[in-house]
Symmetry: C2
Subunit: 106 residues, 2 copies
DNA sequence: TAAGGTACTTACTTGAAAGTAAGGTTAGAC
DNA sequence: GTCTAACCTTACTTTCAAGTAAGTACCTTA
């Protein structure tokens, strides 16, 4: 395993997490929660509809979010994490623990 | 711990890793290696001097890289990871393991 | 004296991500 | 008949990281 291959493996992971709003969305869905589009809008007031859907679509394409459409009028669409998405939790925890290791600066 | 505070904790970590070249540099320095500026240039041929130094400076400011200046002519400057920087290794491993969990697509 | 090695700086350009604002579809409620 | 709710789409602008290219300082060696 060369430095470059290891780096690109991690880069692929970061690319999944890197959108401006993805982590916020992720943490709102952690724990098996199922939320409607409008629930997410309300939960994240600063996000625009365009960004919300853009991030959700990317996360869906990346396989961490599942989109459930109920064919109704008015529309009802729900979002939740896939199993793989849920499995991110411990890895993110490892990052937080690492951050906590930092020595307080002088 | 709200979804927003957890997300921003992780965002702070990602900000440290997010530069275009930081992970490559990081993996070149993992394992206690000490490299000169020119060693890194040679190890990462695609990087420009400007980017190399920019990323190194940011990593130094973030506390994951240590810069050692030897006052000589021609100049000699060495870079290595801080203890905290080394401690990133298991956390990045957790991300790689998560990536490996992904089910092969149908 | 001039050529070269090392570690930078500086000025300018480019491109992708994010933000802003407005429009579109559908069907039942009034 | 037009209003509203819910979930988007589209067009345009802004911002910021990254890329390119050239220059600088310093002493040494030929």
């Amino acid at each position: 395993m060369t430095p470059l291959s290891a780096a690109s493996g991690v880069e692929n992971v970061l690319r999944i997490l890197e959108g401006r709003w993805k982590l916020v969305i992720l943490f709102h869905l952690f724990g098996g929660k199922v939320l409607r589009f409008s629930d997410l809008e309300r939960a994240i007031p600063a996000i625009s509809q365009k960004m919300l859907i853009q991030q959700l679509r990317q996360m869906e394409a990346d396989g961490i979010v599942r989109r459930i459409v109920h064919h109704q009028v008015p529309p009802k669409v729900e979002y939740c994490l896939t199993d793989w998405g849920q499995a991110l939790c411990p890895a993110l925890d490892a990052l937080l623990k690492w951050a906590a290791l930092r020595e307080p600066e002088a």
